[in-house]
Symmetry: C2
Subunit: 453 residues, 2 copies
């Protein structure tokens, strides 16, 4: 039985079905919303009309799960309680009404994350939107069409905040992004984040940093302005991009162990929670960070899929572990690609590492080749060993995916002097003779060596 | 003292200069041609007018070497003999005339490669061109302008052959590519190579495979047609893309050790030849292939630069080793990107591996995202361990550089089951939820597992 019809839960369901036939294992999945297995990462592109059709964001519909995978996917069914002793869940039919108990042998928890909604007065006004479920995307788009808002304020300048800001610019709105931190993209170091702010401003977005939101001015149940310490920003529409926290309510009430630091469900290597036969995957669970060696909560669909795969194999009677993450993420702001992996400077220090850094400017293709674009690459390395600890890349087309080499190097605990000779592909349309990743590795190694002498 | 003014030699010279000042180490470099430190990889783009200015292909001119790096770079000077006992080289001044002996403490050999010119009757005709030095590129371009050739035959369908074929199509010529092997791009497996042939034909290039060239029909010292077993192909211009062999003449005559299998100069980990104080780097040297664990000769500028760096550090009194290659290469045929790394099927078998393969089709971005393009990824893995042995990628924009993740994985001897969970970057504009590399790893792992049961 699966609670939550998105990436973590449904990947597990599909994987378990691959190992065990319909006569051998009955699979029921409950989803509170209208949709299953959708790309919530695609919501900003749906809102911005980059992707027109909502159906394109849906990998598999409930019908497909039923017909092709023999998985009884029930949308608009909310699980209200998990009883571990009875091994049953209490389910409310949100359309038909009424509660009933359904029993399980294995339970898969994929309840995802909830967008952070700090208790700021006015936050529950009707034109304040989170960006978590496909239903949220539908609501925002409906509001854009119905009310023709002119001014939007996006609260929070993380991935979702930035992507939504760009989407709303595409829809012709005046957009202001308000961020409490001194820079957008706090997953980057401040020097790199400042360049993201420049790119946002070049797009016509007003960017306010160091400005925590203190309240919402409302009228008739709708926000009319967003108040910070210094400003009152008129708003017809507010989007919350304050990140998401693991949606652990059900798991916690059932008595499952929750991580102190992460506030996410604790799982073992095989994605089993503290209760036997109860599994979890996706944004609701904590993950092992292979560089900091700490547990983290990073809501990201790609983790949810991998974790769901592992959980599903185990539920199906196989054996699989999930080896953790290195904190890779990528986005774009207009044509500026932004990527990061591993630890940023402050995270590395926090994990106890002494570090050196190296930042280099290069081009995405041979400098003389048409379309060669700027790319800035920053490496963070362990000061004494030269081990790569993190990387950040900003640049135009072809820049961001280079972070995957760094992610793979982090995975294998490579040092920057090992990295600088790696046989990366070279041809003028694809790279300078020394790929920017190699140049950054070389410069980081010089920094390590100069610390030694 | 440096013999050869391109990547291997001049990178070594620059690196040695970084470690030792002009008063401490005198550096003289001799180059037979007119240019130093140029991108021979850029020649097809220069011929095709993708890059207009020859100077753009030159990283550093002799003047720059002299003025900024205190390196006495002498072009149009050909080294004719190396005397290891006298520790001197005999140099001919190709412009001023006359020979003289110049002595050295350290000698750096960077004589590069020579385009293969099989002893086919007529191959020395004046309209038959190799593509190795910038001078070759200048000659071809001059001939295109002066003689307005209409029909070109490219002999050999490797990287240079394909790039030159496209360049000549861009210049408006009718182009035929003749290849002795059953497919173009013999660095790929036949199934992938066949798709490259399709892309070439779509570009209007006539592609003949299984057709060794048997002769050139000439008139007045110029080729008029290229003869194969079955055809006579009219030609106003012939380009040889038959690969290149290490230019070891000087080294061999001096008694330096040459590899039996590679016919390239043998070097140790630090790029020192069999004679103390005599170093070599670039196309003239053999390299250690980290997957096959054999010595190979792979002419590629990116290797030359890395080897030159290592040699230069050692010449300068430092310590550096060159750890080898994994056989990564990339090119494009029109908008089809082609990349490979590691061993192809036959190479893996030849090295003694038992293998499984997996080929998957995916998209470069989330399937619903505008610009999502096809990408085909093939993995070759060791049958029993699942260790990755090689990868090949064909696809449209954004496809090829993904090979770098595979190259890094090969470098670290990862198995495909380790790879399938690596934390690669995901966002809809950059990748499907599971990056194609991860999907290929997953499928290859399934192949390994199914062999076990």
């Amino acid at each position: 039985m699966v609670v939550g019809g998105d990436a973590g839960g449904m990947t597990a369901a599909s994987q378990a079905r691959r190992l065990r036939g319909p006569d051998d294992l009955e699979i029921v999945a409950f989803e509170r919303g209208h949709f299953t297995s959708y790309s919530s990462c695609g919501i900003p592109y749906f809102v911005g009309d980059v992707v027109d059709d909502l159906d394109e964001l849906i990998a598999r519909s409930p019908q497909e799960f039923r017909e092709k995978h023999a998985i009884d996917a029930r949308t608009r069914h909310e699980v209200e309680e998990i009883d571990l002793d009875k091994r049953a869940v209490k389910v409310r039919d949100l359309e038909g009404g009424g509660d009933r108990w359904e029993s399980f042998d294995h339970l898969m928890i994929g309840t995802g994350a909830l967008p952070a909604r700090p208790p700021i007065p006015g936050i529950d006004a009707r034109n304040v939107f989170g960006v978590q479920t496909l239903d949220d995307g539908v609501e925002i788009k409906r509001m854009l069409a119905a009310d023709s808002p002119r001014r939007a304020v996006v609260v929070g300048a993380g991935y979702i905040g930035l992507e939504m800001a760009e989407a709303l610019v595409l829809k012709g709105l005046d957009v202001c992004v308000v961020e409490a931190a001194p820079q957008p993209m706090t997953t980057l170091d401040p020097d790199m984040g400042a360049l993201v702010a420049d790119a946002m401003r070049a797009l016509g977005i007003k960017v306010l940093v160091d400005e925590p939101v203190e309240g919402f001015e409302t009228s008739d149940g709708a926000v009319t302005a967003v108040a910070t310490k210094n400003e009152s920003l008129p708003a017809d529409l507010v989007v919350l991009g304050l990140g998401a926290r693991p949606n652990t309510g059900l798991a916690e009430a059932a008595g499952l162990e929750i991580g102190d630091a992460t506030k996410a469900v604790v799982v073992d290597q095989r994605m089993q929670t503290s209760a036997p036969g109860v599994w979890a995957a996706g944004d609701v669970t904590e993950k092992f960070h292979r560089v900091s060696r700490r547990k983290v909560a990073i809501p990201l669909g790609t983790h949810a899929n991998k974790e769901g795969r592992a959980a599903g194999i185990n539920i199906g009677g196989g054996y699989e572990t999930f080896p953790g993450v290195v904190g890779t993420a990528v986005t774009k702001v207009c044509d500026l690609e932004v990527a990061r992996t591993g630890l940023k400077e402050s995270e590395a220090a926090d994990a106890g590492f002494e570090i050196v850094t190296a930042t280099i400017d290069s081009t995405t293709r041979a400098g003389y080749f048409p379309g060669a674009a700027e790319i800035k690459t920053k490496f963070i390395a362990e000061k004494h060993s030269g081990r790569l600890l993190g990387a950040q890349i900003l640049g135009r087309e072809g820049a961001a995916k280079r972070i995957d080499v760094c992610a793979t190097a982090l995975w294998c605990e490579m040092s920057v002097d090992e990295m600088l000779n790696v046989d990366l592909s070279y041809a003028p349309p694809f790279s300078p003779l020394w790929d920017p990743v190699l140049v950054a590795a070389r410069k980081a190694w010089q920094a390590v060596e100069s610390e030694r002498t």
